[in-house]
Amino acid sequence: MSAQSRSVWQTALGAVAALAVGATVVMALFVVPADGGRDAFVRGTGQGDAYRLLFLHVPSAWLAYLAFGVTALASLLWLFPRTRALHWDLLAGASAELGVIFTGLTLALGSLWGKPIWGQWWAWDARLTTTAVLFFLYLGYLALRRVGGSPEQRAMRSSIAALIAFADVPIVHFSVSWWTTLHQDGSVFNAKMQIHIQDTSMQATLLLGVAAFTVLYAYLVLRRVQLLAVEEGLAERELEAAIAQRVAAAGARPREAVSI
């Protein structure tokens, strides 16, 4: 594919992502009905408008897990000798960056929703707590990526760290949900966590949101990998130039005869 047609495709992908996210926002804010009616939250018969956050919260949570999954897969592909190529490491890094951003967004949206519904910003809900641990798990991974060394060293270090972190996800999820179910007696946890998605417009908006965020992810990760590859290529060219320079410098120097 030529560079030009690739950039056309990219722009198209970006436009689709923007349109889809915009459509999700419009649907979530103006089209779907409030849960149990507009004043439902005040009357105590539903969540009212607060639940509209769900249409961003669920897709961003989905995206965070997708991104970390892609990081693990790309790390595996780098570790496997037959598919070892540096672009897998770049993909792993780019995907983890997006994963951390969207994990942070998930946490923020979850807290915003928790305040009116649970009456507090943070209620140690199992899924939110797991997400918080994931946030720090991958923050450490990103810190490890920035410590320097050659690209191969970075790839080896971070691919193993990514798999270690990924193996921890089910264990964290399992232990946290087990831990929180022990505390179900607290009134907070009996709060209306269930939202009845009956309206077809709700279902459609949720699906649209997930699709929109997935396209957005694809677009962002693509651009990020390209940028990283350009940086990497630049560093590579500088290195080649440095090698040539050293060879030239050594060649130009007068050599004394060496004998013993």
Binding site: V133, F136, L137, L139, G140, A143, L144, V147, G148, G149, E152, Q153, M156, R157, I160, A161, L163, I164, A165, A167, D168, I171, V172, F174, S175, V176, W178, W179, L182
Partner: protein, 224 residues
Amino acid sequence: MTILSDALAVAGKDLRIEARSRVTLGQILPFGVLVLLLFAFALDPQSRLLPNVAPGLFWIAVLLAAVLAVSRSFAVESEHGARDALRLSGIDGASVFLGKAGAIVLELLALEVVLLIGTFGLYNVNVRGLEVLIPTAVAATCGIAATGTVYGILAAGLRVRETLVPLLVLPVTAPVLLGATRAFDDALTGSTGDAWPWVQLLVVFAAVYVTAGIVAFESLLEEA
């Protein structure tokens, strides 16, 4: 089995260094006890709070001390280029992992005995249910030491080792903190039956990361 006997040689070397330098005994152990003391200052010792939260405080103290023990274990290897010497010896990465992690397990278990006596004395906790406490402590410690050793070699030789190791180790070991705390809580309150699922979780965690260490350590020792 050369892997195991080499691992024993590495563990023996690390323990001998600790026995002679007394860093674990003279610094890490007092640090652990100090953390217990600080918790008592932060939480009113007069209330009934301390005995109730003692298991969690105990395991946080262990985790913080473990981070120091891991840092220490790899500081020893980077001091006079010992890591290169270890690589040049041709010793298997799995042996180095098992040896270093094994030494950390023994150090932490000794520390836990002291901390348990500390919680008994300082927090007024009745220590009982040893048949649960001991397997919990062993499984949890193996898990902590295995993850710590893998991340220790990842960060070894980096300028930011001391700050990076806690950021890497503590989130991964979150399930260990949860599981070991619950199991200790169940044991100390007499409901030992509830503790076993948590012990199983700890065993799974330890098995996953010991395996990961055995498989990955060679590459990390060489390339990272």
